[in-house]
C-alpha cells in the first residue's frame, strides 16, 4: 500500500482570536487508501492538535463528518484521497454558521426537524386488535423506505442554493423525513405536518435545483420527496376550494 504527500488547505476559525476564518495549509504523508477523515485525524494527532471537526462512526452512518471537500458537500469518511489527485481544500459545510474550524452550528436544522414531527403519529385504528401491532406489507414499506435512509448529515442543505438564500426554508432533509412518515401506512399525522411542509417556507421555497439528491451520500432523493409533497398539497388545495364536498 502506497504513501504519498497530500497538500491540504483547511479552513480555520478560532472565535476567540480570529476576526474571520482563514485557510491553513498542511502537507501530510498519507496512505493511499485513506479517506479525508483519516488525514484530518492524522493532522490532529501528529501535526496540529488544535484542529476541530466533528466525526464519530467513520462508516457513513452517523452523519457527523459532513464538510466541503474541494467545494462539494461530502462526508469526510467517504471521500477517498485517491479520488483527489491535487490539493484538497476542506471547509465547514456551506450555509451554516462556523462555530470553530470545521464545526458548524446546526441548531437551525435540528429545530426545523422537530417542527415536522418526524415520528409515528398512529393512524386511529391502524393497530391490530388484540396484539396492538402495526402490520405493514412489503409493498407499503417500499413506498417510503428510501427516505428512512437519511442520516441527517445536512449535505443537502450545503448543496441547496435556496437554503443559502432563504434561511427560513425548512430544507430538503426535513421535508424528506416528514414525507417519509406521511407515506407510512401506519401513520395518521399528515394534517399536522402539512402546517410546516405545505407552507411558503416549506416545499414552496424549493425551485427544484435538484442538488440535494445529487450530493446525498445515502442516495436518498429529497428532491423527489419535495416534488411529491408539492403535488399532493396542490391536490389538497384544489379539492378544498373546488370540491369542498369531498372534505366532509
Amino acid at each position: 500500500m502506497g504513501e504519498r504527500t497530500v497538500e491540504f488547505e483547511v479552513l480555520r476559525y478560532n472565535p476567540e482570536k480570529d476576526a474571520a476564518p482563514h485557510f491553513q495549509r498542511y502537507s501530510v504523508k498519507c496512505r493511499e487508501e485513506w479517506v479525508v477523515l483519516d488525514a484530518l485525524n492524522h493532522i490532529k494527532e501528529s501535526v496540529d492538535p488544535t484542529l476541530s471537526y466533528r466525526w464519530s462512526c467513520h462508516m457513513a452512518v452517523c452523519g457527523s463528518c459532513g464538510m466541503m471537500v474541494n467545494g462539494e458537500p461530502k462526508l469526510a469518511c467517504k471521500s477517498f484521497l485517491r479520488d483527489y489527485p491535487g490539493l484538497i481544500r476542506v471547509e465547514p459545510l456551506r450555509h451554516f454558521p462556523v462555530e470553530r474550524d470545521l464545526v458548524t452550528v446546526i441548531d437551525d436544522f435540528v429545530a426545523k426537524l422537530a417542527r415536522v414531527k418526524p415520528f409515528l403519529i398512529p393512524q386511529p385504528g391502524a393497530a391490530q386488535a388484540g396484539t396492538g401491532e402495526y402490520a405493514q406489507t412489503p409493498a407499503q414499506l417500499k413506498r417510503y423506505k428510501q427516505f428512512t435512509l437519511c442520516i441527517n448529515c445536512m449535505l443537502c442543505y450545503a448543496a441547496c442554493p435556496e437554503y443559502g438564500l432563504i434561511p427560513e426554508y425548512i430544507g430538503p432533509a426535513v421535508i424528506a423525513l416528514g414525507h417519509r412518515w406521511n407515506e407510512d401506512s401506519r401513520d395518521g399525522g399528515r394534517a399536522q405536518r402539512q402546517e410546516e411542509l405545505a407552507a411558503t417556507n416549506g416545499v414552496w421555497d424549493c425551485s427544484f435545483v435538484g442538488a440535494c439528491s445529487e450530493v446525498c451520500p445515502e442516495h436518498v432523493d429529497p428532491a423527489a420527496a419535495i416534488q411529491q409533497v408539492k403535488i399532493k398539497s396542490t391536490i389538497d388545495w384544489y379539492t378544498e376550494h373546488l370540491m369542498p364536498w369531498l372534505n366532509k
Binding site: G71, P97, P138, K142, P161, G164, F208, V209, G210, A223
Partner: protein
Amino acid sequence: MAEQVGRRPHVRPITSEWIFRHPRYLRYMVREFSCLFIGAWTLMLVCALGRLSEGPEAWGRFLEGLKSPWVVAFHVLALAFAAYHSFTWFQLTPKALPVQVGEKFLPDDVIAGAHFGAWAVLSLAILFFAGAF
C-alpha cells in the same frame, strides 16, 4: 473545571458565485432563464391576437414584421430554450410522479419516456391540425 470558551459563530456571506461552483447550478440557472424567452414569446402571441382582432390589414403587417431577421433569431432562441426547458422538465418527472407496482417502482426511463412520447404525439397532432402535413 474547563475554561469557558466564548462563542462567536461566523456567518459566511452568500455571493452569486454559487452559480458557477458546479455545472449543476449553471444548468439550473439556464433552465430558469429560459422562462424569460418563453414569457416574451407568449407576450408576442398576445400581441398577435390583438392584431388579428383589428382586421386583415393589421394582421398582414404583423406577419410582415415576423420576417425581420431579429424576430427570426428571437424565435430560434425561444424555441431552443423552450425545448431545453421541456426536456429537462420531462427528465425530472420520475421524481415527481413515481409509479409503484407491487413492491417495485417503474423505472425512471419508463415514466420520462411516456412523457416524451406524449409530448411527441401532441406536437405532431398540433402540427397536423395546423396543416403542416
